[in-house]
Amino acid sequence: MAELISGRRLRRLATIGAVAAVVVLYLCMVGLVEAFKDRNVVTGVITLGAVMLLAVPLIAGYRAALPSRDPSTRALGAGQRVFFGLLVGLIAGAALAVFVLIASTVDLRGVLVRISPPLLEFLTLGLTSGPAQLAIAAIGGLMGALGAALLVSPARIRNAVTSALIAVLFMSMIEPLLRPRLEQLDYTAISDFLYQAHGLTEVASIVCFVVGAGAAILWQPGNDLLRRTVEAAPVQTRRRIRGWTIAVLVVAVLILPQLSGTFLAQVAVLVGLYMLLALGLNIVVGYAGLLDLGYVAFFAVGAYLTALLTSPDSSLGIGLPFFVALPIVMLSAGLTGLLIGAPVLRLRGDYLAIVTLGFGEIARVLFESDALRPWLGGVQGILGIPSPFPVRIDLQLGATHIFASGPQVLYYPIFAFCALAAVFAYRLSNSRVGRAWNAMREDESVAEATGVSTVNYKLLAFALGATTGCLSGALFAVQLGSVFPGSFDVFVSITVLAVIILGGMGSIPGVILGAIVLIGLPELLREFVEYRILVYGAVLVAMMLLRPEGLIPNRGRQRELHEAADEEEEETLDGDLMAQRSTS
């Protein structure tokens, strides 16, 4: 035993335990647990708050059982590893137990407002002091041991359990989306089977668990087989597979609002607007490497220009049709980009970031100011922006009846613009222009000496980024029917930047995924709204530490080139060998 718990190992376990303890206490103190303690995951069995708390010692236990760099740990047996997990879980549990003891004897609410009696009751499981502490510590230890046991168990079981748990959690999380839709479509029987009091029913959760586990077990060998088959296929077939994948995705995107109903379509519209913003900012930051923290300015300019030109209630009052106004808006947007780009041409890195941050705020303050009120409406903004898109579509195509309203309609033009922007950005990135931008990002002076006119290419990046941002702003104005300066604060810039960083700088699929994850998910977990910034922060810190290149790094082109080069490779290799032989 003395050998088992050496000083170094003890320190490592203590560190993991301490981190878990801090996370658990933090979740309680900021109110996340309280916010989620009434959201059922499985009704009558477990709530989301409990899931969050339990997940921490589980993950800590898993980590504690992982082989460390210390080679002696590799020889550890399963029992010892589980014991480590138990230890770590106990530390976290004990910390929470002590916290509960303190909180229930001393009133901490003066300082920590989130520690409410209902929270304490939830944490103590309704037990009295004493038994409650024991129970909390025991549960912590149990979860830690379970986490470790998960690691120790064979991969097949591990994957099955993980997938089953995720399936249950996922099905319960989409309840707010799925249930109203099911009821709307008259599938009340399914909805009643699945859900009860906003959580899964016990039977449904068992079904989900089994399906999740089953899918993992069946998929495991199949997945490998599938990948190997695809990889073994000739280039031609692989291209065809890719074509089909894209086609299926396009169809899925097209019918999504029909299946999902209005609420999800509304979320999708928001995701689309941010996707467009991110595609534009990606040109500036991802391709050209110009850190622009005031990107919201272009979003605002686009929205306000659209409002001024199309709303009959605006100070201009000309009420142009949207599609007549749009080219004017985009042209002016490009000019705005040049206007903002020109003074910052000589700035690099941090300096550029600070100046653009200032520009973003200046834009917001101007739109809000009383001085410009007669034209821009001040805090009241501009109302009465007409939408060029029909409010509802009611079509009878043969046997299928298509009905769409509000966001379900707006969804299509927004995603059409997104697709267009993505295609344009993709073409630019793989052209002379994109390479010049990348070169500038890598080393500005060498790019200049290599023949890239850095002044022109910086301005071009700003102008194109601005145009895309303004387009998103224009659609935003149309979607709301009104614009207010409050919508254009610095948080928009930060969010868009976060989308790009999360997805992967300079990677178009990354940007798309980033927008879905960072904008879409929080909308689905509405309790999160209050904690959105907190979660953004945590996600960004985690990403920078674990995967700084983003979810989908920009390596697509490389793979493409590999495919083309495959045929030549052997030949070239022989050539090299010959060349080397002849020189040596």
Partner: protein
């Protein structure tokens, strides 16, 4: 200078591609280059040597427009380079490599070379956005040419899709050379092309430099510390010391020039 003052006769085979007169660069109080006169005949390989801090890199930076001279003239192929932005100089036909390799680290090897071709390409951003056929044709042609350049400098094609920062050192030097060559320069400036190389690699690089001049009809100016390289490859050598030109001549003349020996080895060596 004696080489260039050929007496009138049949049209001079070796006309001058670069001529520099009275070039002076002051940084505050420090004179980095003082009244330098310098000429390179077309298709020659000329070296510039001198102890550290002699002003060689400053001289390079003025040729390429990165810093502006305090006074003096630089004429390249009949055009004054003074006041031009570096990218304009690159377009005129001067390309360079760097003493401490400066590649576009997070771009692929192939993309690095293709950036080098930038000034000779025509595709505008709106043409690229529209995906016009001539853009794709140009792109394919440049890609092909870039791969050939990799062959020329001896960088195996299998590295084409690797990030430049992942290349081994010797290959990074070769890549930098390929990038410089991609713009079809008339004058190639090499700043210590064999720095940090072992004797084998150094010899390969020397052979390559000689071959480039032959095959691409280049004019090459190199800064180099390795005397073996300098003596082996150059036709004329200019020696700088404390920002001044102290000698100019054939390798044989330089080798025996007492001022040069003094600059390199100190006073006692000549005594």
């Amino acid at each position: 200078m004696s080489l260039l003052n050929t007496p009138a006769g049949p049209a001079p085979v070796t006309d001058v591609i670069l001529s520099v007169h009275h070039l002076t660069k002051r940084f505050e109080g420090l004179v980095a280059n003082r009244e330098i006169d310098f000429e390179i005949p077309r298709h020659a390989i000329v070296s510039m040597i001198g102890p550290n801090g002699a002003g060689k890199t400053t001289f390079f930076n003025q040729l390429t427009g990165i810093i502006e001279p305090t006074s003096g003239t630089i004429e390249f192929d009949g055009t004054s380079v003074i006041g031009m932005a570096p990218h304009e100089v690159a377009e005129l036909g001067i390309a360079r490599t760097y003493q401490n390799i400066r590649l576009f680290a997070n771009m692929t090897v192939l993309a690095n070379v293709m950036v080098g071709r930038h000034v000779r390409m025509k595709a505008q951003w709106y043409q690229a956005v529209l995906g016009l056929p001539h853009v794709a044709r140009e792109e394919a042609a440049v890609q092909q040419r870039s791969l050939e350049l990799l062959d020329l400098v001896g960088l195996p094609r299998r590295y084409a899709d690797d990030l430049a920062k992942n290349l081994p050192y010797g290959h990074q030097r070769r890549l930098e050379l390929a990038r410089a060559l991609a713009s079809d320069p008339k004058l190639l400036l090499l700043d210590e092309p064999t720095a940090g190389m072992n004797p084998g690699e150094t010899r390969q690089m020397t052979d390559l430099i000689a071959r480039l001049r032959r095959e691409l009809e280049l004019t090459i100016l190199l800064i180099e510390h390795d005397m073996k390289v300098v003596m082996g490859v150059s036709e004329r050598i200019t020696v700088l010391d404390y920002g001044e030109r102290i000698a100019e001549g054939t390798p044989e003349e330089i080798r025996t020039n007492p001022r040069v020996i003094e600059a390199y080895l100190g006073k006692q060596a000549t005594a």
